[in-house]
């Protein structure tokens, strides 16, 4: 019975270690930003098209934020504003400007206890000007963390 205090100490230490470990804050390793993935397609043929230059800016009530500024691109990924039910984008393809508005509903989603919440979106509608953009079609309305294609942009 001399071992009783030692075993008790061991058991208590193990339980405390387990509890402290389970209570400690763990880092977040997961992707928490859902992106609206847009594919560029050639109007008429529907085949993949490469834009010589693509610039996309998001317009918020207080600021204009540049999301994409690239050359020789066939697709782009854009975040939707989690603070609003619509996002306004200035899209410049090969130097020609258009404006697109994306309408959506937002759904909070728990990524994990470590990473917290993000907002998934379900696209309900799109409108666009037609200076270079022919049509903007919703391919998959769910903007989530799976990285699937959401919009087809014909130009």
């Amino acid at each position: 019975m001399k071992c009783v205090p030692q075993i008790s100490a061991y058991v208590i230490a193990s339980v405390m270690a387990f509890l402290i470990n389970s209570c400690s804050v763990q880092p977040c390793y997961e992707d928490t930003d859902p992106m609206m993935n847009t594919v560029l397609l050639a109007s008429g043929t529907g085949e993949s098209a490469k834009a010589d230059s693509l610039r996309v800016r998001g317009v918020s009530p207080t600021d204009t934020i540049e999301f994409v500024d690239a050359r020789s691109v066939t697709s782009c990924s854009l975040p939707l504003d989690p603070a609003s039910d619509l996002s306004l984008f200035y899209i410049t393809v090969n130097g020609i400007h258009d404006t697109a508005v994306i309408y959506y509903t937002r759904l909070p989603h728990l990524v994990s206890p470590e990473c917290g919440y993000t907002f998934l979106s379900n696209i309900t509608g799109v409108t666009t000007t037609h200076n270079i953009i022919d049509t903007l079609i919703i391919e998959n309305s769910k903007v989530d963390l799976n990285g699937e294609k959401n919009l087809h942009l014909f130009f």
Partner: protein, 256 residues
Amino acid sequence: MAKRTCISFFSLLLLIAGSSAVVAQDTVTVPLHLRAGFDISGPLLKFVNKELVSYGILTSVDVTEAITLNAGMRYSSFHSVRHSYDFTSRGMSIVTGAEYNFLKANVSEGKYYAGLGLRYGLSLYSEEAPVIRYTNMWGEGVSSIPLSRHAGHFVEITPGFRTELFPGVTIGWNLYMRLLISAGAGNDLKPVWMPGYGPATKGMATAAEYYISFSIPYKRKKVIIMPKAEDDEEEEGDVSSTTNSPGTSSGFGGRL
């Protein structure tokens, strides 16, 4: 608490060690009990984990010398403040099921339990995230998820031990391996903590409970203990087998 844990644990060890000296009997009379008790680990753990408050009660009734039906109720309140969100959940959980005592009746004597339980659990809870802080390419912002009520379901497997501290009072502990059936809140709003279950973002959760209960014997039952004679006869036919005294029993026979 450590002292009581030791009493419980070592009483079981002594029970196991001493059982080899128990003389086999044809029948034993075992008291069947009604028990009502409460979890003492929940309130104590609040000193370690300040996010969780948990109070539980557990009742049980011996149906036979080996099978016990039990039911429990637990109130849990969980509040967590993380860097990107605050989360609160609270609610009642109810568990009901049965447990099987692996100790033979002549060893358990209605006082000791070493067995396995299986329970179904229902959690009626509310959850909310009053503050969600986010940062993305659009900038920073704050949002929230309003209070919503849900019903979650789970099953739990509970290996455990119980011993009579003194007549009418038993102490024991259970480990819990819980399997989530449904959190009831959909895939997007799984609760960070589901009362009665734990982190509902995981399909399996583990926990432990240390409890004290008060018991009342409500019936005495005669249990026939199968003598070891038949086994010994078979063993006698095996020349190479070790010889055991026919008057001794391992105490755990076919159950453990």
